[in-house]
Every structure is written in structure tokens, then in C-alpha cells.
């Protein structure tokens, strides 16, 4: 006991210092969120006359209702609602497809190795580093050829293909550490390629599935460039719609509605992080250390 009593004072000082720094950074990072939230529940009058940091004089949720269903976006006053739905219809299938494909790729690249497997993996990996801008025109051409320009399924295809590189990387590294003897045991038990995948591999892939889903969902939900380039009138995702809302050059700038809209657009990714954040770190570590 005497040991810890001696060590205590300097320990406390160091801790105080650490916490001070940490609290400073927490405030630093939370401030933008605070500004967004607090101004999204003010009246426009309140924002114009008051301080950006100040608490609302009169609490109102009208900006949220407006942003969701009344705001003028493009030509119609629909609010963000239909675009939120568009984003969901694009992102959910694209995430599911790229995750499943990544898992299958990882399975084949580690457990059914074929000549040139490393080269294939290298090329898939390379796709993670290709800047979006480079593929815009070829992608537009392909979408045009198959007649999917400006459609939801067109955007699903783009996001799905772009997501394969990262999801393959995640799953390959995870499955590299998965014991090959288990696959062999299942082969002797007579299980087929897909039976092994579904019955042996997938049930043990929880952490890496979470990582991949979070990663793909955040990237695809937040995507602006592909959305702006390839979406049409009925397939505009929420990020593009938000931009249209905020950059609208007619009428009064409704800052409170803009703030509310921005929070609405960010909400799904926030929820995904909060719900599964700890699996994210765990899964990334597992892949990194073992792979």
C-alpha cells in the first residue's frame, strides 16, 4: 500500500494533465456538432440577431420538420425525405453486395489459392487507391451502354464495384489468420465450397463483417461525387440534395433548416458508429494484427 501512496501525488498531476488535454480535444471535436444542433432548433430571427454559440431563446422543431418534408429542393418543395429514401435504396444493396463479394474473394484468395492469386489480390488492392475522378468518364460510358444512367441501380453498381477493393482487403486479411485445417476438415466431411463458406467461415466472421459494413456504409452514404455525377431526377442521394438545399440561390437562406438538414443527412452514419463502434475497433485490430 505504501508504494501506491508514494506514487499517488505525481500520478494525480499527470492524470490531471492528461484529462485536461483530452477534455480540450473533446470540446474541440464536439463544438461543430453543438453549433449544428443548437442552431437547428432556433428560429431564423434568433439566428440572425443572436450569437452562433448561444442557446436558443425559443425552442422550435419546425426547422427539422421543414428540412424533412417541406424544404424547397430543386423545383419541388419535398424536403429531404425522398432523397433520404434514395440514399437508403442505393446504399443498403451496395453495402450488402460489396460485403458478400469481399467475403467470397477473401475466402478464395486465402483458402482456394490458385496460380496468380497474389497478383489478383494486388490488383484488387490497387483499386482502393484509384482516385474517384479518374473513373468518372469511363463509368458514365458504361452506365450509358447498359442503360442505367441516372438510375438507382446504376449508382448501386458503381458503389458496389468501388467497394470490392476494400472489402476484399478486410476479408482476405481476416481469413488469412483463419485455420486452414478447419477448411480441410470440412472438405473431408464432404462440405461443398459454399457449404464451407456458409457453415464454417461466415459464423466466425462477425467482427470483420461489422468493420466492412461500417466502412462501406459510411463511405457510400457520404459519397457526393458519384451521386452528383450519375444520379438523375429520381435517384438523387441525400448528400446531393443537401447541397442543393443549402446552395439554393433563391429566397431567404434558412440557416436553421440547413443545419437541421445537415444533421439529418449525417444521422445514419452517426447511428452506425455509435451502435457498432467498439466492434469496428476490435475488428480492425484483429485484421491488422493477425493479417
Amino acid at each position: 500500500m505504501s508504494h501506491s501512496e508514494n506514487a499517488a501525488p505525481s500520478n494525480k498531476l499527470v492524470r490531471a494533465l492528461i484529462y485536461t488535454v483530452l477534455i480540450f480535444f473533446v470540446i474541440y471535436y464536439l463544438l461543430p456538432l453543438y453549433v449544428m444542433l443548437v442552431n437547428s432548433v432556433k428560429t431564423l430571427e434568433d439566428i440572425r440577431t443572436g450569437n452562433l454559440m448561444a442557446l436558443p431563446k425559443l425552442l422550435t422543431f419546425q426547422p427539422w420538420r421543414d428540412a424533412w418534408s417541406n424544404a424547397q429542393i430543386g423545383v419541388e418543395a419535398t424536403g429531404l425525405k425522398p432523397y433520404f429514401a434514395n440514399s437508403l435504396m442505393i446504399v443498403v444493396p451496395a453495402v450488402a453486395l460489396s460485403t458478400i463479394t469481399g467475403a467470397l474473394n477473401g475466402y478464395v484468395l486465402t483458402k482456394y489459392r490458385f496460380p496468380g492469386a497474389d497478383i489478383v489480390f494486388g490488383m484488387l488492392l490497387l483499386s482502393c487507391f484509384i482516385p474517384f475522378q479518374i473513373v468518372l468518364i469511363p463509368a458514365a460510358r458504361i452506365l450509358g451502354l447498359i442503360g442505367w444512367s441516372g438510375t438507382i441501380q446504376g449508382l448501386i453498381l458503381i458503389h458496389f464495384v468501388y467497394g470490392i477493393g476494400f472489402s476484399t482487403l478486410f476479408f482476405r486479411n481476416y481469413y488469412a489468420a483463419f485455420p486452414t485445417e478447419l477448411i480441410r476438415a470440412a472438405q473431408i466431411d464432404g462440405a461443398s465450397f459454399f457449404q464451407i463458406f456458409r457453415r464454417i467461415l461466415l459464423p466466425s466472421s462477425g467482427p470483420i463483417i461489422v468493420v466492412t459494413v461500417i466502412w462501406q456504409f459510411t463511405n457510400q452514404w457520404n459519397d457526393f461525387l458519384f451521386g452528383a455525377s450519375f444520379s438523375g431526377y429520381t435517384s438523387t442521394p441525400i448528400t446531393v440534395a443537401l447541397n442543393n438545399l443549402v446552395n439554393s440561390s433563391t429566397g431567404v437562406k434558412e440557416y436553421n433548416v440547413h443545419f437541421a438538414g445537415a444533421v439529418l443527412a449525417a444521422l445514419p452514419t452517426l447511428i452506425v458508429y455509435i451502435v457498432s463502434g467498439r466492434y469496428f475497433v476490435r475488428g480492425l485490430m484483429a485484421g491488422a494484427v493477425k493479417g
Partner: protein, 369 residues
């Protein structure tokens, strides 16, 4: 149950030859142990029998039927892996019945099979647990259960005991032997532990660098090794290999240079080949138990020769006492009775059992017969 024939088997990875023409035949109900140092190709050989790896040349026949090119599940084999390879997401019962489930065998039959195997291996109380909740020995049992339930023609074991602690390893070794005696199924068993090989096998195949060194019964392998590698690899402590000069002075004599101590001179036993080596140096192979204290020597043979040796170190081991004798530049391990009176640092008479002595050509490392 079936015999297993490995016929001129070659296996290469690109230009690397891993197995170079292996010929082994084991009878129905035999227990074949593949033994050798790591990297000798024994696990690869087992994997080719299982069908987990393709063969480059040659043939493998189970019960007279070629299985080359057949999928592992079609070869009627079962395998126990070194890491046990239990499916982590399934319970013990599901692990055991997974193969039957894949083959779409109905549930009552599966339940009955699980019960039968659990009964044999005494793992009834573990059936609902997950592999992560089992100890090493229990996992080992479950892995054997998964193999047993298939009732295959041939069992394949890939170093199944190497992950267990010493005590458990001995227990499980006995268990495997008992299982084999009861079931009478053909077994192929890979190990690097020569004691496991000697205790379990009906036939041993010693491999080194992808080549079959010797194939025979444990007795043949132990007492009649074909070359220096087999002689040294099998047995613990390993066989003493000592340089000796062959001389012809009133019959063939072997002279072991003693350096600062007197030379050890032994009359050569009946060995026709030795005559050709007069005036040359050969390797004398003596197992530690054939080099003992004169009172403890086996009196049933008249080939016991006593010689004075300098004792360097004495290591009591409970049941026996091991003594390290210095003979010239060589150290020879002698196995004495536990109560043998022996002091390190003294010249002591040791009894050489020359009926058990073997000789090797130092250049070719092959046996002189």
C-alpha cells in the same frame, strides 16, 4: 477396413520435389506410422492419402481401389488434425454430426451415431459444449469422435498428440492404441516423436527429405536399422555411433581410440561385411541399453565384452541411471541399473553387448552387414 498401398508416389511443388518415389503397403487393420524430422514430407504424404493435396506421379490405393483424383469425402477416410480443427461455432454434438448432416442422413440416425461415439470416448457430458469450453484432452477426444463416427476404411492422424502436455500425451497414446485394438481399422499416423512411433505402430516408415529411408516393423527399425539416419533417429537416448578401427589380430578386432585413456578393444561379432574394412574406420552403433554395468548386462548372450571406460557424467533418472562415457573424441551414453555403483571421473568397466552392435560405412552411412 482396408489395406492401403502407396505406389511410387511423387509430389512436387513446382520444381521442389517434396516426395520422391514412396512405396509403402500396409495390410488391412495395420497401424502405419510415418515418422521423420520436420520437413521430411510425412504430413504431405498424409495429405495426399487424404486427398487434400494432389499427387504428381504414382498411385494410392485403398482396399485395392485407386483413389487418386478422388475428392477427400469420397475416399472413405477420416482425419484427426494436429490442431483438432473443431468447428468453433458448433457444439460438440454438431461437430461430430456435421459430416452426416452434409450427407443428409436423417436426424434419428445421427443422434444414435453421436450417442454411440460419445459412449466409446466417454464424452457424453460434453456434447452440448462449444470447443472453446473444452480442455486440450477433451478437444482431442472430440476430434477423434468426429473421425470415429464416419466408420471409415482408413483413419488418418496428423500429429494428434503434439499439442498435449506430457502426461496427457502418454494417456492418449494408450487410448489410441486401445481404440485400434478394439476397432481393428487401418490407421495411418504421422508423428515426429519416435517413441509414439515405436509404441503404436505395426509398421513404421521412416522418412527424410522426401525419401523413404526404411519401412518395417518397430522391431526391425529399432534393432536392424538400414542406415545411420534411422539408427540415430529412432530410440531415446539415441544410438551411440562411435568411430572404430577394424584390425585383424587373431580374428577381427575393433579398436576405439581412447585418447588420454586406454583404447577400448572389442572382438568383432559375426558380421561378414566387416572383413572388407580391415585397416579402415567404421561406425560402431551401440544402443545405450547395450552398454551397461557388468552386473546389469544381459547374460543370455555370450557376446558381452567388458572394457574400461572413463565416466564423465552420471545422470540418475529414477528407473535407470545414465552415464556419459568418454571414448576418445566421442561421448557414449550407457544405461545402467538404477542402483549401479558408479562415480564420475573414474575409469569403470562397462559391458558392451556385441550381439546388438551394428556397423555403418562412414562414407555412405549405409549399414555394413
Amino acid at each position: 477396413m482396408a489395406s492401403l498401398t502407396i505406389d511410387n508416389l511423387h509430389k512436387s511443388y513446382g520444381a521442389t520435389k517434396v516426395l520422391k518415389g514412396i512405396n509403402i503397403e500396409i495390410e488391412d487393420g495395420g497401424f502405419l506410422v510415418l515418422v521423420g524430422p520436420s520437413g521430411c514430407g510425412k504430413s504431405t504424404l498424409l495429405n495426399t492419402i487424404a486427398g487434400l493435396e494432389e499427387i504428381t506421379e504414382g498411385d494410392i490405393r485403398i482396399g485395392g481401389t485407386s483413389v487418386a483424383g478422388l475428392h477427400p469425402s469420397k475416399r472413405d477416410i477420416a482425419m484427426v488434425f494436429q490442431s483438432y480443427a473443431l468447428y468453433p461455432n458448433m457444439t460438440v454434438a454438431q461437430n461430430i454430426s456435421f459430416g452426416m448432416e452434409i450427407r443428409k442422413i436423417d436426424k434419428p440416425t445421427r443422434e444414435a451415431a453421436i450417442k454411440r461415439v460419445a459412449d466409446v470416448l466417454q464424452i457424453e457430458e460434453l456434447l452440448k459444449r462449444k470447443p472453446s469450453q473444452l480442455s486440450g484432452g477433451q478437444r482431442q477426444r472430440v476430434a477423434m469422435g468426429r473421425a470415429l463416427v464416419r466408420d471409415p476404411q482408413v483413419f488418418l492422424f496428423d500429429e494428434p498428440l503434439s499439442n498435449l502436455d506430457a502426461k496427457l500425451r502418454v494417456d492418449m497414446r494408450t487410448e489410441i492404441k486401445r481404440l485400434h485394438q478394439r476397432m481393428g481399422t487401418t490407421i495411418v499416423y504421422v508423428t515426429h516423436d519416435q517413441i509414439e512411433a515405436l509404441t503404436l505402430a505395426t509398421k513404421i516408415a521412416v522418412l527424410k527429405a522426401g525419401e523413404l529411408q526404411q519401412f518395417g516393423t518397430p522391431d526391425e527399425i529399432y534393432n536392424d536399422p538400414i542406415n545411420m539416419f534411422v539408427a540415430e533417429f529412432m530410440g531415446s537416448p539415441s544410438m551411440n555411433l562411435l568411430d572404430c578401427d577394424v584390425t585383424n589380430e587373431d580374428g577381427l578386432m575393433l579398436r576405439l581410440a581412447g585418447g588420454q585413456y586406454p583404447d577400448v578393444v572389442l572382438p568383432a561379432p559375426d558380421c561378414d561385411g566387416l572383413a572388407r574394412y580391415v585397416g579402415q574406420t567404421v561406425k560402431l552403433g551401440v544402443r545405450p541399453e547395450a552398454l551397461t554395468d557388468p552386473e546389469g548386462a544381459n547374460r543370455s548372450t555370450d557376446r558381452i565384452v567388458e572394457a574400461m571406460c572413463y565416466i564423465d557424467v552420471v545422470e540418475p533418472a529414477g528407473s535407470d541411471t545414465f552415464a556419459v562415457a568418454k571414448i576418445g573424441a566421442f561421448e557414449a551414453i550407457a544405461r545402467l541399473r538404477a542402483d549401479a555403483q558408479i562415480t564420475p571421473g573414474e575409469l569403470t568397466p562397462l559391458a558392451f553387448n556385441m550381439s546388438k552392435a551394428v556397423f555403418f560405412d562412414p562414407a555412405t552411412q549405409q549399414r555394413i552387414r
